[in-house]
Symmetry: C2
Subunit: 245 residues, 2 copies
DNA sequence: CGTCGAGTTGACATAATTCAAGTAAGGTGG
DNA sequence: CCACCTTACTTGAATTATGTCAACTCGACG
């Protein structure tokens, strides 16, 4: 065990104390391995579990009555996932592994100690969840007010930046992994139309595609064409309580 | 001063202690009055302020480069608004009053005491913000995967349920207040098309319109047609810390 | 070698937008 | 109190973006 990837992720924003690290590590005592495509949790399941994603990519999504699917969010290592049942008894979204993945499940009761003993970590969780909320509002504006081409472009840029955030060696190229159908379910489009938009972006010289990987050739132009705004500003930690102990 | 409407709202989920109520009331010491249409805060403004909405309706929204607007969320009394700068230094959304309104501004530093001294209230804030996140994912699915008619229907139902939550005497009729352009900006449609969809819903006998008010005639059918899921389940407070003091 | 899932492309259908013209209601200054 | 403005709402016709259906290619895999 290499230590808590959750603590590592949160440590980007804050110098955690030993005690704080230990408290976070306690959330990752158990591990569960998932194969590509395997479902971790289904919408409406009652469960006390929340997860820290340790390795691999996952996605959260819902199905509508007509059988269509909306992908709500892609998840990368260090993400806290399944957080809808922090608020509710029953899960609001399904969770499935996009690649082989490892998650650390913990019961939400474990958050109690965190809020009681480590108010600064609680504040950090709260701030991170607000940042996630902002990310969702960006997606909302993308789906509500931009063209198909812009939505696909914004998704690609979001993936690039989030991968970069994890691995500083990644510059402008990454393995796509998602099928065009999944991209469609994330952007509210059909797989066929996603295909056309990717071709369009490629013909315009903004991206290149080879095998399963994408290169963002002209990041500035793509961001412009996609109404994409990079939210990777620093978190504002100025209001946080002092560390305990 | 009639006491904290924030505490009143949060008290729906939990029996707050006197000390907890007092701590929340401290967030509402100042008041600011807004006229219909008045902007409280602009996107990208740097500000340490967060607000509790005390009276009236407000909305949060963003503008895109092409001048189009996406309304992110409607806000009702008791809502915590402007929460994007809990995470960031600069505001991610603009805030404007839809009706005459009263807000109580407070500096985010005030949250520090709350997290330090009242972990149970902090947990409640966190849970409520997760519920808001789920509400955003519902909107995402609505915009991404449902028809214009369904989006308008879902917005009407959401408004109905949120108004009911505040005022138990409201049954199935309310004053719309929003213009069709605003409905369009919330649902990702043009004002013209909103108009047609409202007519369609009326012709199908699901709603009635008179002057500025809407009556939901057949709530079940409308919910069905709009892929609407009512999230007003109880919050799960089982994991919260014990009250302090 | 055959099958299967994913990607690609064309022809056609449909939902939503755009443009344009008009009506209704409320507010304001003379 | 009226005449005028302005803003919101309404409706039709033409246009465009996206979806649907269908056929085909390609590579992976058993």
């Amino acid at each position: 065990m290499t230590g808590s990837c959750f603590a590592e992720r949160l440590g980007h924003f804050l110098d955690l104390t030993e005690k704080e690290r230990a408290a976070l590590a306690r959330l990752e005592e158990r591990e569960r391995t998932l194969k590509r495509g395997q479902m971790l949790r289904r919408e409406n399941d009652g469960s006390d579990e929340i997860y820290v994603l340790r390795h691999g990519w996952m996605m959260s999504y819902v199905y509508l009555d007509d059988g269509s699917r909306q992908i709500l969010r892609l998840h990368f290592p260090g993400d806290l996932i399944g957080s809808s049942n922090i608020a509710y008894r029953d899960a609001a979204e399904s969770l499935t592994a996009i690649t082989d993945a490892v998650v650390c499940p913990f019961e939400k009761q474990a958050l109690r100690t965190l809020f009681d003993d480590h108010p600064r970590v609680a504040a950090l969780l709260f701030a991170v969840s607000q940042a996630e909320r902002v990310s969702l509002t960006d997606r909302l504006a993308s789906l509500g007010r931009t063209s198909a081409r812009a939505r696909v472009g914004a998704l690609l840029l979001d993936m690039l930046h989030r991968i970069r955030f994890m691995r500083k060696d990644v510059t402008n190229s990454f393995e796509l992994i998602l099928t065009q159908e999944e991209i469609g379910d994330a952007t509210g489009l059909t797989a066929v139309h996603v295909n056309r938009m990717m071709r369009a972006l490629a013909e315009e010289g903004m991206i290149e595609r080879r095998n399963g990987s994408v290169t963002i050739v002209d990041e500035r132009a793509l961001a412009q064409a996609s109404a994409y705004f990079n939210r990777f500003a620093e978190l504002d930690t100025s209001w946080f309580p002092a560390p305990r102990g």
